[in-house]
C-alpha cells in the first residue's frame, strides 16, 4: 500500500526487538524479596464452600502466609460495574474459582502450599450453556429492548420471510503476556502496584476498595502490556488486588503472574452468543422488518457484559438500513469465567447475526449475496435503529465500489465459479462484506481524557497521558501529536509510563478511542504551552505574535522558515521570564448522548467504515480451508501513523479470522475449560496469513473534530474477517446446489466438513480410474 504520512515505527520498536522493553513481570528481579502468589482453586463449577482451612499450606517449606476473606481490611469485592465479584468467595461460581491464595518465597513453594490446602464443597447444579440459562431464566441483565417501528407488522406484510439462528463461539484473548501485577511498598510506605492493566485508574479504585483505603494512598503504573485486546480492561483488577493485599499483609513485594493455563481458566473471554432472527424482505432482498433476539453467555458475574450486549444491539444493523427493527438482548448468567471486553466488544457478534440473515435472504432468493448486501446499505440522511443519523453513509458505497474494482471482485467471482465447475473435491468461495462501527464509549462518562505535558529548559519534553500502551501504537501517536503541536522533533518527546499519580480518573484505554481522547488532551496541553511561548518567540523574532510558527524544533516567522531560532532558545528565554513550561489538557467528546430507556440517542461521535473481500479454498475431504487472498479498504480518516494503522488493520483482520475459524473454546460437561492451553486452543499462525493481503486506506477521509483528522482503528478491522466466514460458506454451498448453508461459528474444519456433507445431499457419482 501507499503511505502518505510519515512512516513512524512503533515508539518502542527497537526496545521490543532488542529485548530491552520491559513488561510488568520483567521487573521482578528488581524486587529481590518479592513473594510469589498461587491460588487455591475449587474443583467444581458451582458449589458451596463447606470448609476451608488455608493454614495447612503453612506446613510447606517456603510458604510465608495465606490470603483469605478474613485478611481483607476493606470490601471483599473486585466487581468493576456491579459489586458482584467477591475476591474470596463463599460460593464457587466457576470451575477453578480461586477461593484462597498462598504466598511463598518461590513460586513452587506457593504451588505446593496451595496443593495442601484443605477444603470441602457441596456441589450445586451448574448452568453451563446459553440454552440452560435461558430455560432457567438465569440472567445477569435483560431483557434490553430497543425498537423502531412495528417490526412484526413489517415482517408480516413483506413478500418473503425467513427465520434462523446462529450460535457464535467466544474467543480467548491470548495476549502473549498473561495477567501480571507486582505490588510493593513505595518510599513513603504506601502501596504501589505495577499492573498490566488497560485501566490503571480502575485498578487503583479496586485495590483501594479491597484495602479500605482512600485512593490517594494507592499508585498504579502500567509500563506497557504484552497485548490486552480488552482482556485487561476490567480483568487486570483482581490480580492487582491480590498482590496489593499480600503486600499490605506481609509488608513485602508480592508478584502475581498467571501462567497461561491459569489465565485461560480464570479470566473472561469474548462472549459466546446465540442469535435468533426473523426477517421480512422484498423480492430483491431489501429488508422490510427484522426481529432479533441476542443471548450472550456472560459467565458468573456482570463485568462489562451489559455494555457488550448494548454494543451488539447497536451493531445489529452493521451497514444496513433496517426500516423496522425489534432487538432484544439478554445476558445469561452461567457458571463459567466472567466474559469480558474483547476487541469489538459485542459489535462483532451483533454484525454476524445480520450478515447471517442477509446471506440466507440471498440464497433463499437465488441472488448473489453481495447484491443483497449493497441493496440494503444505508443512504445519506437515514438514521440507525436507535435514531442516530448515519454520518458519511455514502462512504459505505464509495468503499464498496472502490474495493470491488481494486480486488477485481466480479471477474474473480466468475473465476471461482469456473474453478468450482472443474473441481469435485475442492471448492473456492469469494465474499465481500462491509463494516460500520460506532466510535465512543457507549458509557458516556468514559469519553473524557487528560494529559500533562512538561517542557524542560533544554527543549526536551515529557508527555503524560491517561492511555495505556498495549501494542496498538498509542504512545507512537501521542508522541507524534505532541511533536507536531509543539513544533519539535519526535525524538525530543518522551512518553512517560501511565501512572495514576500523573493523570487521575482516566478511562480504560478501550473502545478504539484511546488516540482520539488522549490525543485531543495532549494537543490541548501542548497548545497551551505553545501559546505561552508565542509572545517570547515574537519578541525574539521581532514579528507579530500571529506570525509565529513552530515546526521541527525551530521557531520562525511565517514565510521566514530559514530565519528562525531553535525551540530551545525560546524555551530557555521563557523559563527566565518565569513562564510556566508545563500544562494540563483535558478533553471530553462533545455532543454524544443516549437514553437507554427509549433506546435512542447519538451514542457515537462518528462511524468507521471499511469492507473486505476474501477468497478461500475448502478441502472437501477434510473441511480444511486456506485463505487465498484478502483485499481491504478501510476508512482511518487522515492517518497520523500509517505503519501503526496498517498493523491494526492487518492484525485485527487476522484476529477476527481466528475467532471465526480455528479458535474454538470448549467446556466439558463439568464446566471445565477443555481448551486451556496453547496446545489445545489454536491462534492463527503462519498458514492463516492470507497468501495475498492488500490493504488500502480510504483517501480524502479526514474526520473533522478529531485530532489531526484521524479516525479510530483498533476494533473496526476485526469485523472485516466476516468476509472469510462468508467466503467459506460460499465454498460449502458450491459443493451442493448453492442453497442455504447452516454454519455455526467458528467454522472449524469439522463444522465445515459436516456442512459440506449436508450440501452434498445427492450421492456422488463414482468414477472408475486407476493410477496404474
Amino acid at each position: 500500500m501507499k503511505i502518505a504520512g510519515p512512516e513512524l515505527a512503533h515508539e518502542s520498536a527497537y526496545g521490543h526487538a532488542s529485548g530491552e522493553a520491559l513488561y510488568t513481570d520483567d521487573l521482578l528481579a528488581r524486587f529481590p524479596r518479592a513473594l510469589h502468589a498461587w491460588p487455591v482453586m475449587a474443583p467444581h463449577a458451582h458449589a458451596r464452600i463447606l470448609h476451608l482451612d488455608a493454614s495447612a499450606a503453612l506446613a510447606e517449606p517456603g510458604v510465608v502466609t495465606t490470603l483469605t476473606a478474613g485478611d481483607v481490611p476493606g470490601e471483599n469485592d473486585t466487581g468493576a460495574v456491579r459489586h458482584d465479584e467477591p475476591l474470596f468467595p463463599s460460593e464457587v461460581m466457576f470451575h477453578q474459582h480461586p477461593v484462597a491464595w498462598v504466598l511463598g518465597e518461590t513460586l513452587e513453594a506457593a504451588q505446593r502450599g496451595a496443593a495442601r490446602v484443605e477444603a470441602s464443597y457441596e456441589p450445586l447444579p451448574a448452568i453451563l450453556t446459553i440454552e440452560d440459562a435461558t430455560a432457567a431464566r438465569s440472567f445477569l441483565s435483560g431483557p434490553l429492548h430497543w425498537a423502531r417501528g412495528d417490526a412484526a407488522a413489517a415482517i408480516a406484510g413483506a413478500a418473503h420471510h425467513i427465520e434462523g439462528q446462529v450460535a457464535i463461539g467466544g474467543q480467548e484473548h491470548f495476549y502473549l503476556e498473561t495477567q501480571a501485577a507486582l505490588a510493593f511498598l513505595d518510599e513513603t510506605g504506601e502501596i504501589g502496584v505495577h499492573s498490566s492493566s488497560q485501566h490503571p485508574a480502575e485498578t487503583q479504585q479496586i485495590v483501594a476498595r479491597v484495602l479500605g483505603s482512600p485512593r490517594n494512598r494507592i499508585s498504579v503504573e502500567c509500563l506497557r502490556m504484552g497485548g490486552a485486546f480488552g482482556g485487561k480492561e476490567a480483568q487486570a483488577n483482581p490480580w492487582a488486588a491480590v498482590a496489593a493485599l499480600g503486600t499490605w499483609k506481609t509488608r513485602r513485594p508480592v508478584r502475581v503472574r498467571l501462567t497461561r493455563a491459569l489465565d485461560m481458566m480464570l479470566t473472561g473471554k469474548r462472549h459466546p452468543f446465540l442469535g435468533r432472527f426473523e426477517c421480512g424482505f422484498d423480492g430483491e432482498g431489501r429488508i422490510q422488518g427484522i426481529r432479533i433476539e441476542l443471548y450472550s453467555d456472560g459467565g458468573w458475574s456482570l463485568d462489562l457484559s451489559e455494555a457488550v450486549m448494548g454494543r451488539a444491539m447497536f451493531h445489529a444493523d452493521n451497514a444496513y438500513y433496517l426500516p423496522a427493527a425489534d432487538i432484544t438482548g439478554y445476558v445469561c448468567r452461567t457458571h463459567k469465567t466472567s466474559q469480558t471486553a474483547f476487541r469489538g466488544f459485542g459489535g462483532p457478534q451483533g454484525m454476524l447475526v445480520i450478515e447471517e440473515a442477509l446471506d440466507r435472504i440471498a440464497r433463499a432468493l437465488g441472488v448473489e449475496p453481495h447484491l443483497v448486501r449493497e441493496r440494503n446499505f444505508y443512504r445519506e440522511g437515514q438514521t440507525t435503529h436507535y435514531l442516530q443519523p448515519v454520518k458519511d453513509a455514502s462512504r459505505i458505497g464509495t468503499i464498496w465500489r472502490r474495493l470491488k474494482s481494486t480486488s477485481r471482485f466480479e471477474e474473480r467471482l466468475r473465476e471461482v465459479a469456473a474453478f468450482n465447475a472443474a473441481q469435485e473435491h475442492r471448492k473456492r468461495g469469494i465474499a465481500i462484506t462491509p463494516v460500520k462501527f460506532g466510535i465512543s464509549f457507549t458509557a458516556i462518562p468514559y469519553n473524557q481524557a487528560g494529559a500533562f505535558v512538561l517542557v524542560y529548559p533544554d527543549g526536551s519534553v515529557q508527555v503524560n497521558h491517561g492511555g495505556t500502551e498495549m501494542g496498538q501504537g498509542l504512545h507512537t501517536k501521542m508522541r507524534h501529536v505532541a511533536a507536531e503541536s509543539l513544533g519539535v522533533t519526535v525524538e525530543a518527546v518522551r512518553i512517560m509510563p501511565t501512572r495514576t499519580d500523573k493523570i487521575p480518573n482516566t478511562s480504560a484505554t478501550a473502545a478504539s478511542a484511546g488516540a482520539d481522547l488522549n490525543g485531543a488532551a495532549v494537543a490541548i496541553a501542548c497548545n497551551e504551552v505553545r501559546s505561552r511561548l508565542v509572545p517570547v518567540a515574537a519578541c525574539q523574532l521581532q514579528c507579530a505574535e500571529n506570525a509565529v510558527r513552530f515546526a521541527g524544533g525551530q521557531v520562525f516567522a511565517e514565510g521566514a522558515e530559514t530565519d528562525g531560532v531553535a525551540f530551545v532558545k525560546v524555551v530557555e528565554d521563557a523559563y527566565r521570564q518565569r513562564i510556566a513550561l508545563f500544562a494540563d489538557g483535558y478533553y471530553r467528546t462533545p455532543g454524544i448522548h443516549f437514553d437507554p430507556k427509549t433506546g435512542t440517542g447519538k451514542p457515537f461521535y462518528y462511524f468507521c467504515y471499511g469492507a473486505a473481500v476474501s477468497e478461500v479454498e475448502v478441502d472437501g475431504f477434510t473441511g480444511d480451508h486456506r485463505i487465498l487472498r484478502v483485499d481491504i479498504v478501510q476508512d482511518v480518516g487522515e492517518s497520523m501513523a500509517p505503519l501503526v494503522d496498517l498493523g491494526q488493520v492487518e492484525g485485527g483482520f487476522v484476529q477476527g479470522a481466528g475467532w471465526l475459524t480455528i479458535e474454538e473454546l470448549l467446556w466439558d460437561a463439568q464446566g471445565r475449560l477443555a481448551t486451556n492451553g496453547a496446545s489445545t486452543y489454536k491462534l492463527p499462525s503462519w498458514p492463516e496469513l492470507p497468501e495475498v493481503f492488500e490493504v488500502e486506506f480510504l483517501e480524502r477521509a479526514a474526520e473533522p473534530g478529531v485530532v489531526f483528522g484521524s479516525k479510530a482503528v483498533g476494533e473496526p478491522p476485526l469485523m472485516l474477517a466476516i468476509s472469510v466466514r462468508e467466503a467459506i460458506r460460499a465454498a460449502i454451498a458450491a459443493f451442493g446446489d448453492g442453497g442455504i448453508v447452516d454454519l455455526d461459528s467458528p467454522a472449524t474444519p469439522e463444522r465445515i466438513f459436516w456442512a459440506i456433507r449436508r450440501a452434498q445431499r445427492a450421492p456422488r457419482a463414482v468414477r472408475e480410474k486407476s493410477p496404474a
Binding site: A17, G226, T259, V654, A674
Partner: protein, 468 residues
C-alpha cells in the same frame, strides 16, 4: 533448599554458573533471574516461541545457531551448552540486522513475542549454507497475536546474507561438544552419559529415572502439571543414538537424532517423509524432538507413528542383555504403553527397503501449522503391472488408544484392483474396526469420517500422480 550443584554454560559469550536448586527450574527461569528478561514465558509448553534462544551446535550442515524453546530445557540440560539470547545480538550498542528489520517493518506491536521471533529469524539468517531469502517457515514455531504476520514476513524476506562480525565469526569455530555430565542436588539427580553402555548402566542402577531426549514432551509435564522429575537420564550425549544409515536394504535412523537433523541427513527422503516433517510440530520443536522420544511416549496422537507404521518400520531396542528388534505395529501395547521393558531404550528406527511406491502423509487439525492432529494418516501402497495392490499399509493416529495399522481395511485392498470400489470396501472396514473418541479436537464421528475420506483423498492424489 541447599544447593549442591551449579550448572555451567555460556550465555552471550560469557560463562555463567547457576545453582540447581529445584527440579522444575528451566533455562528460561535461569536467564530471567539473571536479568536477561528478553525471553518471555508465553505458554510454558513450547507452542508460542516467546522464550526462544539460540544454541550453538555442530549440525550436519555446519556450526549453526539452533533456535529452541528455553522453557523446555530443564536447567541441567543446558550444562556445557553455548547459548545466545536476544540481548546478545547487538554489537556495541547497534542492533543486529534482524532487529532493525523487525523494528522498521512494523514487525512488533505489543513486542512481547518479538524477542522470540528475532531469535528464530536470526538463526535463519545465519543458517549455514543458506542461499536465497530466509524461509518464513523457520518462524512457524513463533506465535504473534497482534500483527497478523505480514510485516514479520516482510522483515524476514528483507534480510540478505549474514553480515560479517562477531556473530558470523562465532560460526567458524566448533560448538562445544555435548559431553558426559552428572550432578546431584538433594533428591534431584541428572546424568548425561556419553555412551549407550553407560546409559544402560545408569538406567539399571536408578529404576526411578526417566530417559529424556529433547524434553519437548516431558518438560511440558513438569511445567504444566507441576510434576517433579527428580531423576533424569539425558540421551543427548549418547553417540550410538545419533547414527543415520541409508543402505541398500534399509534406512536406519538413530533414536536420539533431532527431527531437524533427520531431515538434513536424509537428503533423498520420499515425498511423504518431507510432508510429514513439515507438519511435525514446529521448527523450534523439531530442533529438539527425537523419534525415540516420540515413539516412547506412545501418544495416540503422536505424529511420528503413522508414517513409520506405513513404512513398515522396526524398532531396534537396546538393553543390558543385548538388543532386540520389534516391529512397530507390535510396539504399542495400549494407551501410553509400549513394548519397552525395564532398563531398555530405543536405539534406532529401521525402515526396510524398498520403500513403498505410493505414499502420502496427511494431518487433519484445526490449524495447519504446529497443531496436534485430530487424525493423522499415512498410506503406502505398491501396485503390480496390472494395477493390482500388492501391498497396502494404512496407518493412523487419533482413531484409537494407540497409533494403529488398519489391518482389516488393508486386507480389503490387497490383491484387488486399485480403484474406488476397493477404497469403498476399505472404508467400510475402517468403520467396523476403528475406535475413535470424541474430545476437544473432534467428535468420534468426524474422526472416523476423516479416516475414510483421507483414504479417498489419497486414492485421488495417486490417480493424479499417475496421470502426471
Amino acid at each position: 533448599m541447599e544447593s549442591q550443584c551449579a550448572i555451567e554454560f555460556v550465555v552471550n559469550g560469557a560463562p555463567v554458573a547457576v545453582p540447581w536448586d529445584h527440579p522444575r527450574a528451566t533455562l528460561l527461569d535461569a536467564l530471567r533471574e539473571r536479568g536477561l528478561t528478553g525471553a518471555k514465558e508465553g505458554c510454558a509448553e513450547g507452542e508460542c516461541g516467546a522464550c526462544t534462544v539460540a544454541m550453538v551446535e555442530n549440525t550436519s550442515a555446519g556450526v549453526a545457531y539452533v533456535p529452541v524453546n528455553s522453557c523446555l530445557l530443564l536447567l541441567p540440560m543446558a550444562a556445557g551448552r553455548e547459548i545466545y539470547t536476544v540481548e546478545g545480538l547487538a554489537d556495541r550498542g547497534s542492533p543486529a540486522e534482524v532487529q532493525t528489520a523487525m523494528a522498521e517493518h512494523g514487525g512488533s506491536q505489543c513486542g512481547y513475542c518479538t524477542p522470540g521471533f528475532v531469535m528464530s529469524l536470526f538463526a535463519e539468517q545465519y543458517r549455514p549454507g543458506r542461499v536465497g531469502p530466509c524461509r518464513v517457515e523457520a518462524l512457524e514455531g513463533n506465535l504473534c497475536r497482534c500483527t497478523g504476520y505480514r510485516p514479520i514476513r516482510d522483515a524476514a524476506l528483507s534480510l540478505g546474507p549474514a553480515p560479517e562480525g562477531p556473530l558470523q565469526e562465532r560460526l567458524s569455530r566448533a560448538a562445544p561438544e555435548v559431553k558426559p555430565f552428572a550432578c546431584e542436588a538433594g533428591p534431584q539427580r541428572f546424568a548425561r552419559p556419553g555412551t549407550l553402555a553407560e546409559c544402560l548402566k545408569f538406567l539399571a542402577s536408578d529404576p526411578e529415572a526417566r530417559l529424556i531426549a529433547g524434553g519437548t514432551d516431558l518438560v511440558v509435564e513438569s511445567n504444566l502439571k507441576a510434576r517433579r522429575l527428580n531423576a533424569l537420564i539425558s540421551v543427548e550425549g549418547v553417540a550410538e543414538l545419533l547414527l543415520f544409515r541409508d543402505s541398500d536394504d534399509a534406512v536406519e535412523i538413530g533414536a536420539g537424532l533431532t527431527l531437524s537433523e533427520i531431515g538434513a541427513r536424509w537428503s533423498d527422503a520420499p515425498a511423504a517423509f518431507r510432508e510429514w516433517l513439515q507438519l511435525f510440530a514446529s521448527p523450534l520443536l523439531r530442533n529438539r524432538a527425537t523419534l525415540g522420544g516420540n515413539l516412547a511416549t506412545a501418544s495416540p496422537i503422536g505424529d511420528g507413528s503413522p508414517l513409520l507404521l506405513a513404512f513398515g518400520a522396526d524398532v531396534r531396542i537396546a538393553g543390558l542383555r543385548g538388543e532386540r528388534i520389534v516391529a512397530l505395529d507390535e510396539f504399542f501395547r495400549g494407551y501410553r504403553k509400549t513394548a519397552l521393558g525395564p532398563g531398555e531404550i530405543i536405539r534406532s528406527v529401521v525402515l526396510p527397503k524398498p520403500l513403498p511406491a505410493y505414499a502420502r502423509f496427511y494431518k487433519a487439525a484445526k490449524r495447519r501449522a504446529d497443531d496436534i492432529s485430530t487424525v493423522a494418516a499415512c498410506f503406502a501402497v505398491d501396485l503390480d503391472a496390472a494395477g493390482k495392490v500388492t501391498r497396502a499399509r494404512l496407518a493412523y493416529g487419533g482413531v484409537a488408544a494407540t497409533p494403529v495399522r488398519a489391518v482389516v481395511a488393508e486386507e480389503q485392498l490387497a490383491g484387488r484392483r486399485w480403484d474406488l470400489t476397493a477404497i469403498e470396501a476399505a472404508q467400510g472396514a475402517l468403520a467396523r474396526t476403528l475406535t475413535p473418541i470424541s474430545d476437544h479436537r473432534g467428535s468420534a464421528e468426524y474422526r472416523l469420517a476423516l479416516a475414510q475420506s483421507l483414504l479417498e483423498k489419497f486414492w485421488h492424489e495417486c490417480a493424479q500422480e499417475a496421470a502426471a
